[in-house]
Symmetry: C2
Subunit: 211 residues, 2 copies
DNA sequence: GAGGAAAACCTAATGGTCGTAGGGAAGTCA
DNA sequence: TGACTTCCCTACGACCATTAGGTTTTCCTC
């Protein structure tokens, strides 16, 4: 009773914040990630531009919130895809979920994996879920090592860097050269299983010398 | 005699154009590729901003000229590296030259391989040298196929897409996560020979089934 | 319900951006 | 010298992010 008002107000506030982020994403989809305009957001929201400063201290703060949102979403999408699945399938399903999410959220993907917004660097808080994702990846690779499906070296720094490079490469090419494609039909996206396969071959457990 | 004046003038003009491009690159290096400001360029050049429109019809035209310049440079850097070298080394040397150029020209690399400038799409003219580069790559892969060092499939559309994805991936990760590194010391860059090796393994000529 | 605090929103203004219009000065050629 | 082109300028319009400071609305307490 005594807190209903406060709840009500802060709820409404959160609603507005979400709305700002939604509108921002929509605008970036049509105008480009770096072309986000606070005035345009305010216009769509029926507010005057300075009013947005009630919710975000600057334009970069909006990018930061979007970064965090994206990092959380892509992390959770992978976790959801891996939940309740046999261990030896988890890595592949995670990659698939990752790829699909990226294609369906290209704006956020660009923000997350290419750092091209002048002056923007994610805050530690916004970056935390991205670290989670990397930790998840490491633990799943470790599972594969423990299960005898990957060589020990796969979880080394080089192994991880290679893994992320392979996936980021396919993603990067798809976004830059054929962004309008869907996840299913992307010319580059369909290479995702291929590079995963190549990774497994490189870190074959039996004769897994890394040169 | 009669044309000295004209030559003189057009030479001076070309000089100014080059100067504008040089200043633009320098500014983008410190401020970010998307943060290029015509006013700032004019300031450094000792001109008023509108005067730049004598040399470029718009800001995007500057990006276009830079795109072309970058595409030419990276193509020629690779060609130079491969000139007069045994065939079986050309591909690797080309990749090395490519990687080095990209690390030393990150601004242009970003413009070439990530398309993140709102509203910018390279003109066919600016894109031409990039097509050359891809044609070069194709012919060198074909050489490797003919020399019995790669399977026929390596020059298929998938093979090419895979090749560019592998290299773009390493590059992408390096630029996004460790841009201040040099070519020699980059955590991801040193994976370039690794992914090249993986490519050769995937398209081994003897038992080269592509699954 | 009335009073007061806090939140939400506003207008006005600063200083920056790109790009256009139109005019003057300098260089070039007959 | 006179005509023509190129170069550069000032002035302007339309946008942008952000700050300052005032007003209205909303909500809680009394």
């Amino acid at each position: 009773m005594s807190t209903t008002g406060l709840d009500r107000r802060s709820k409404r506030r959160q609603q507005t914040i979400d709305e700002i982020l939604d509108i921002s994403i929509a605008l970036m989809e049509t105008e480009g990630v770096a072309a986000l305009s606070l005035s345009a957001v305010a216009r769509q929201l029926g507010l005057q531009p300075p009013s947005l400063y009630q919710y975000f201290p600057s334009k970069l703060a909006i990018y930061d919130a979007l970064f965090q949102r994206g990092a959380e979403q892509v992390r959770d999408a992978q976790r959801a895809a891996r939940a309740g699945v046999p261990i030896e399938q988890q890595l592949e399903l995670g990659i698939t979920a990752f790829s699909r999410w990226c294609m369906e959220n290209q704006v956020l993907t660009q923000l997350l994996f290419w750092r091209t917004i002048p002056g923007f660097e994610p805050s530690p808080e916004a970056f935390a879920p991205a670290v989670d994702g990397l930790t998840d990846l490491k633990s799943y690779l470790q599972q594969e090592v423990d299960g005898g499906r990957l060589h020990q070296e796969a979880v080394s720094d080089d192994g991880l860097a290679l893994f992320t490079s392979l996936t980021a490469g396919v993603l990067s090419q798809q976004l830059a050269n054929e962004p309008q494609a869907t996840f299913e039909r992307g010319r580059f996206m369909k290479l995702m299983p291929v590079v995963l396969d190549m990774f497994y071959q490189r870190y074959e457990p039996t004769r897994g010398k890394t040169k």
